[in-house]
Symmetry: C2
Subunit: 150 residues, 2 copies
């Protein structure tokens, strides 16, 4: 339970990054695909993902030899903090896409490492992988259709 609270506290950091670097006028005027989720969907999805990934990490934290698995979890949460800052803060669409690729790979590695310890923890990461794929597709679509300053 202590570890669940600690992992959730760590998730509060990228959540704060999301609050600081919000979609504003610039994001609204971007050319986006028809399947772009409405803005209110994102915080709800992320809240659910934070709960799931924190619970999954807490399960793995209670098992032995979990250093690599939890280290990868730390990597993915740190990368995710960087993404909103670069995409919404700097409005660097291509850099944002590169960061999401790294994020997705880090989440996939975390999920694989969790699987070696606990099948349920790995399953709890699957929605995150799915959402990461949606976010990557959205970021790449936006990159293709919106000219960027060099």
């Amino acid at each position: 339970m202590l570890m669940f609270v600690l992992f959730l506290a760590i998730c509060a950091v990228p959540a704060a990054a999301g609050l600081f670097f919000k979609p504003g006028e610039w994001y609204r005027t971007l050319d986006k695909p028809s399947w772009t989720p409405p803005d209110w969907v994102f915080p709800i999805v992320w809240a659910a993902l934070y709960l799931l990934m924190s619970w999954a990490a807490a399960r793995v934290a209670s098992l032995p030899d979990n250093d690599l698995a939890l280290g990868l979890w730390s990597l993915q949460i740190t990368v995710s903090t960087l993404w909103s800052a670069v995409f919404f803060g700097l409005r660097r669409i291509a850099a944002g896409a590169a960061i999401i690729v790294i994020l997705w790979l880090a989440v996939a590695a975390t999920t694989a490492a969790f699987l070696a310890h606990d099948r349920i923890a790995a399953l709890m990461m699957v929605p995150y992988l799915a959402w990461g794929a949606v976010a990557l597709a959205l970021n790449l679509w936006i990159m293709k259709r919106n000219p960027q300053p060099a």
Copy 2:
């Protein structure tokens, strides 16, 4: 060794945030104290701190029951990623100061947790605590002397 590389890879994320959100024209024109280190000092200090904190975390990772200690380490590195984005990206000086306070507390908690496992690992965190105090003092000084939009 694997864990050291993994921790260092995690440190690459706040380092990348530092590269994205650099001190530029805005920072140069701020009213700063006479003891402000020159710009070139910061990346060198941070590189040294990243090496030290990654090595310290790798030492603790090799010991049993390290979940809380490494969880706190993850918290501090995630908070540090947020700081450059908010201070240099958004130019929110007061929010930056609040984040450094949280960061310093997270580093102090990490150091205390490391101490329970390994005295050398805790010692390796001391320069980070010292630098955090300098950074906090600098951020607070800048906050006091530079008017902020509400």
